[in-house]
Amino acid sequence: MRAAADRFRLITAGTGLVAPLALILIVLVLAQQAVPAIAAFGPGFLTGRVWNPVTLQFAALPYIYGTLVTSLIALLIALPIGVGVALFLAEPGHPRIRGPIGIGVELLAAIPSVVYGLWALFVMGPFVFRTFEAPISERLGNFPLFGGPARSTSFFTAGLILAVMVLPTLASVSRDVIRAVPGGLRESSIALGATWWETTWQVILPAARAGIFGATVLALGRALGETIAVTMTIGNRFQISPSLFQPGYSLAAVIANEFTEATAPLHTAALIELGLVLIGVTLTVNLVALALLRATAQRVRPA
């Protein structure tokens, strides 16, 4: 009987270990497949600006730039809204309004990214172009940030749809963090005569700051790795433009677009190296986020 118990423990541990093994295997396999490109281009792969499948010159800076810019736009937009939603959901009271909004945020996370891409391509992108990008770039085109000609597929469009997509992550993780703030803090503040807003701004949010930062980093990881919606909205042009309203490219998007068409082995290896860079960065970002969130959970937990 004792032996059977140990066997059960071992078997289930074995199935559990599939997750870490898969993770390690993914990184190793991608690294091994990227070797030709790593050997050919070295560290210059990350800083160069040439991507030419004909002459077999590959360097990734514009893709890295596009990935970072779109993710930052997404976070700038999603952070205030996400924290607002989190405060709303963590707030005691108003369960009748809170319920539907909570469900709505969960459904927002459930919509497939290709459907967001479709909507952003045909509806949101053209709308943002007409009402926002074109007028701004006509009037403020001298600022490099808004330089024209504006396009409906651009860094900004991709960043905006990414904001929608990372919002549920930000909101639900921040909600948990805010809920974990000890109730005594809120009660003491209100007992001292502070209004709801003063309590929230001066007590709750500072106490939850590290956790909200963790949620933001987690959302950054999601944004960096998102593929399909960005591929459909970023415009897929290999360039580094300071203008948010111009098309660009991202790491994930170029893999999605070129991988099946790559015939030269070096081209394939270069695309896989892009994948390796992408997974390396997102895994690191995720680890940082998890560490932040765990530290907050431990600090906030009553002794």
């Binding site: 289930t12 993770l23 309004i97 045909f122 459909m232």
Partner: protein, 282 residues
């Protein structure tokens, strides 16, 4: 309390309500457009029974894509759900050691791994060595995406079951594995099923890991050793063509996909509610 502080408080409250509403605008618009643009497409004769036809020729459908999605997600589930459930049971029943810590960390990190990189992994492992694309390789990629979701939701659901049930089973002389699999796991079933359903919904909506594993197929194929289409691939490819009727098909496929994913999600919510009621009784 002076008026200014009250006014600031009121203003901030109003802003908060507004923010919560703003967050739901994209959801409402995506659903609205998917329904209004997708409904005409799904009403075309043959949308659910025919396969794709070239642009300009009416009567095309997505039957092959629906079959592809069901088969690939089904195969991925058959792989990921048993492994994930057993792994989750391990974390809930024996999850205090360092090993369990590593499994948890890996699952949490794997949830956030970019799906396109997992597609590259499946390509390198199962497509390149055999020199042809296959639905099997896509199922493998989807299974890797589903696994961490199943592990963590199973752990949460099993950990919710009170220790008294385990002790009662052990006191009656049941073996530990019987207690875990025949007593605790059935009690946690609604929560476990919820996790599995969420993983299925996630896999059904994935596009990136299918691009260079199953590649797509214009024809009906039920053999996973060959290429298959999927609803997501139809949306992706048909959205990016310049043909109006293809674009319409994309909206139709998106509608089918959204209905599928939302049904699974709302279904899981219903199942979870029963779990909470059940856990209260134990």
């Amino acid at each position: 309390m002076n008026g200014r502080r009250q006014a600031t408080n009121g203003l901030a409250r109003g802003a908060l309500y507004l923010t919560a509403l703003v967050a739901l605008i994209p959801l409402a618009l995506v659903l609205l457009y998917t329904i209004t643009k997708g409904l005409p497409a799904v009403q075309h004769a043959g949308f659910f029974t025919n396969v794709e036809r070239p642009p300009g020729i009416p009567g095309g459908g997505v039957a092959h894509a629906i079959a592809g999605t069901l088969i690939m997600v089904g195969l991925a589930s058959a792989l990921a759900i048993p492994i994930g459930v057993l792994g989750g049971v391990h974390l809930a029943e024996y999850g205090h050691g360092r090993l369990a810590g590593w499994i948890r960390l890996a699952a949490d990190v794997l949830v956030g791994a970019p799906s396109i990189a997992i597609g590259l992994f499946a390509y390198a492992l199962f497509v390149a060595p055999f020199h042809h694309f296959s639905a099997y390789s896509a199922s493998l990629a989807l299974a890797v995406l589903m696994l961490p979701v199943v592990i963590r939701t199973t752990e949460t659901a099993v950990a919710l079951i009170p220790g008294g049930l385990r002790e009662a089973g052990l006191a009656l002389g049941l073996a530990r594995w019987r207690v875990s699999l025949q007593l605790v796991l059935p009690a946690a079933a609604p929560g476990v099923i919820t996790g599995a359903l969420l993983a299925v919904a996630r896999a059904s909506g994935e596009t990136a890991p299918l691009l260079f594993t199953t590649l797509g197929n214009r024809f009906f194929n039920l053999d996973p050793a060959g290429q298959m289409s999927s609803l997501t691939l139809i949306v992706f490819h048909d959205a990016l063509t310049p043909y109006a009727d293809s674009n319409e098909t994309a909206w139709g496929a998106a509608l089918v996909l959204v209905v599928l994913v939302l049904l699974v999600n709302l279904g899981s919510r219903f199942v979870l509610r029963r779990q909470v009621a059940l856990a209260g009784k134990l």
